[in-house]
């Protein structure tokens, strides 16, 4: 890889101080995202996907805080910036799209007002130039008759159209990186596909990098270049999306991919992973997945595996592509 990453996350630790003690929502997460790349992040609820996104954009609300590690934007640390400098980065360099387009827009302001406000916060454009740019943005995200719709209120748009407006807002200042936190979860299936296509198109045309947080493996398989599987605040497996989907290595990732229902396989019951993710107050020692793992070894209960290139027991015999890393003792070449 010759290009420099847009975003690098290094050993990120996020903690929440609660009455019952300090919870580690994120514990040592690392990954890079290249320009124009879509990194899918999957995992169960509470695995730390959204918190990772919020940490990157600097919007962890107290009592949460970044307790360790660093976040680099174009090689420069941003996690320790003063609030005002971070605010200037938000929207201009890093944008975020939220799950629910119905509640992401302020109901009392016209769509155009919200767009123009965002554009003018980050650029020196005049009011009329900002308006022209807002209309262009709406056209770009596929809103018909944008010069008319710009004066509409959010409630006059359908869910899918609102998510397009949200994307237009995120694109206002041409950010290099977008955190998309479950952007399609609240939408109809047919609309989901349109929004995913739109995000892909924007990445391709603008070279924007995207971190796509979702629990929908279908969306990941369709959109992402690489995928990170998160479990209990850690990255269990990360790699090129085809490789991870076709040849998952981590027992949890295997379970997750196996749980995707297909029309061809006429299973009696849907496949599921037994048990549930541990509470953050009660993460087991060693590998967090060990109580649910079919192939658990003594070592898994003591020693925590770190993400590394897989060696040894590659049961499927498939060629593992470069950049496919897994945090599991099965693949460190030693243990059987």
């Amino acid at each position: 890889m010759t290009q420099a990453p847009v975003i690098s996350v290094r050993n990120l630790v996020v903690e929440f101080a609660t009455r019952r003690g300090i919870l580690r929502a994120i514990d040592g997460v690392s990954f890079d995202i290249m320009p124009g790349e879509v990194l899918g992040v999957v995992g169960e609820s509470g695995a730390g996907k959204s918190v990772t996104g919020s940490a990157i954009i600097g919007l962890i609300e107290p009592p949460g805080r970044i307790a360790g590690g660093e976040i680099l934007l174009h090689g420069k640390r941003i996690d320790n910036l003063p609030a005002e400098e971070m605010r200037r980065i938000r929207g201009r360099k890093i944008a975020m799209i939220f799950q629910d387009p119905l509640t992401s827009l302020n109901p009392l302001y016209r769509v155009g007002e919200q767009l123009i406000e965002t554009i003018q916060t980050h650029t020196d454009l005049s009011a009329s130039a900002a308006r022209a740019r807002a209309i262009d943005l709406l056209a770009e995200v596929g809103i018909p008759a944008p010069e008319r719709r710009i004066d509409g209120y959010p409630h006059e748009f359908s869910g899918g159209m609102r998510q397009r407006v949200v994307i237009a807002l995120a694109l206002s200042a041409e950010p290099d990186f977008i955190v998309a936190d479950e952007p399609t979860t609240a939408l109809d299936v047919s609309v989901q596909a349109q929004i995913i296509q739109l995000i892909k198109k924007l990445c391709r045309e603008r070279g924007t990098a995207v971190m796509l947080v979702t629990h929908d493996m279908g969306v990941i398989a369709e959109t992402a270049d690489r995928v990170a599987v998160m479990y209990a605040g850690r990255v269990a497996e990360i790699g090129p999306v085809r490789d991870v989907v076709k040849h998952p290595l981590h027992p949890y990732a295997k379970g997750l991919m196996g749980a995707i229902p297909t029309l061809e396989a006429e299973a009696e019951r849907l496949v599921q992973i037994p048990g549930s993710m541990p509470r953050l107050t009660n993460i087991p020692k060693g590998c967090a997945f060990n109580p649910r793992c079919e192939r658990v070894m003594d070592r898994c209960r003591i020693e925590r595996p770190e993400p590394s290139d897989p060696k040894g027991d590659l049961s499927s015999g498939a060629a593992i592509m470069p950049g496919h890393r897994v945090a599991c003792h099965l693949y460190d070449g030693g243990a059987k």
Partner: protein, 325 residues
């Protein structure tokens, strides 16, 4: 929109008819008006003649119709105590009450919103805690006690402000008197306005605080932050506007009660307004004044409710659609 306005106006008329009914019934059941007008030694024939001339022998519906008709022409009869038309008495005193009420409402709204926003944004600061504690006192202390305490402190001990009356007033256009234009008028206004507005102020402050904290948790505020908008734009553009919608309703409705319940404050400060007039009317069973005052306050509440509903639609675009439908 038009259909909505018409519907609301018709509802208002219905409410006013009900109020008029109560005011009318008061005439019939709170003593015999004739007894208030005539002396002990008036001959029976004279009483009967007076009763007939006043139309008191007509059937109740006819009398009620006449009452409504007169009310529509601002005719509420003659005060038993003052021997003057009630309308004239009320009109003379309305400016005093209205100036007091609007000053109190303005004070309550301005200070209440500022304090509420401060408490919501600086939740853990010492000053916010103090505001919270003081507001609890403001909500729980009765108005007359606050008035008396203020008089004791600022008029008796410190001697800074007058405790009594309206100061010098200036007549405007022959039908309005104002205390805003003289120094003594303004000074006289301070204590009663604070007394009258304090309860509403604490109410508005607590409402703004909780509403704003609620709004700050919403997704669109998070999204506004994620777009890198300035803190000022988020707090005072996005959050405050959403906060103020329910506040408008409450504040508007409170204006009605400020005017209606100015009675107590006016009594404490001997403020020459309609409230004081009403209280004297109650003491002297001066039913025409009581009835007219009842109608007036009813009309005020109905009008304010109507305006608040319309203002609500003006601020919230979502309701404009609902109104059109």
């Amino acid at each position: 929109m038009l259909a909505f306005v018409i519907r609301r106006v018709l509802q208002s008329v219905a409410v006013m008819l009900a109020v008029a009914m109560i005011a009318f019934v008061m005439f019939r059941f709170v003593g015999d008006p004739i007894n208030q007008m005539v002396g002990v030694d008036t001959p029976q024939e004279e009483v009967a003649r007076l009763r007939a001339s006043l139309g008191l022998n007509d059937p109740a519906p006819v009398q009620f119709g006449r009452f409504i008709w007169n009310a529509l022409h601002f005719e509420f009869g003659t005060s038993y105590q003052f021997r003057l038309p009630v309308t004239q008495l009320l009109a003379e005193r309305a400016p005093a009450t209205l100036e007091l009420a609007f000053t109190a409402a303005g004070f309550a709204l301005l200070v209440g919103v500022i304090m509420g926003v401060y408490c919501a944004l600086r939740r853990d600061s010492v000053l916010a805690q103090v505001f919270q504690a003081v507001s609890l006192v403001g909500v729980s202390l009765p108005t007359f006690l606050i008035g008396i305490l203020l008089i004791y402190l600022f008029a008796v001990i410190l001697g800074w402000l007058p405790s009594n009356g309206r100061g010098d007033v200036v007549a405007l256009g022959g039908w309005w008197t104002t205390g805003f234009l003289t120094k003594s008028g303004l000074r006289a206004l301070i204590l009663p306005a604070i007394t009258l507005g304090l309860f509403q102020m604490t109410l508005i402050m607590r409402l703004v605080r909780s509403e704003m904290m609620e709004v700050m948790r919403t997704d669109y505020i998070k999204f506004a932050k994620a777009r890198g908008l300035t803190t000022r734009a988020i707090h005072f553009g996005h959050a405050l506007k959403n906060t103020l919608i329910p506040v408008i309703t409450i504040a508007g409705l409170q204006l009605g009660s400020i005017i209606a319940f100015a009675i107590i404050t006016e009594t404490v400060f001997n403020w020459p307004g309609m409230g004081l007039l009403f209280l004297k009317a109650v003491q002297n069973v001066d039913i025409p004044i009581m009835a007219a005052y009842l109608m007036l306050i009813g009309l005020l509440f109905v009008m304010i409710n109507l305006l608040v509903d319309l203002a609500y639609g003006f601020v919230d675009p979502r309701l404009r659609v609902a109104m059109r439908a």
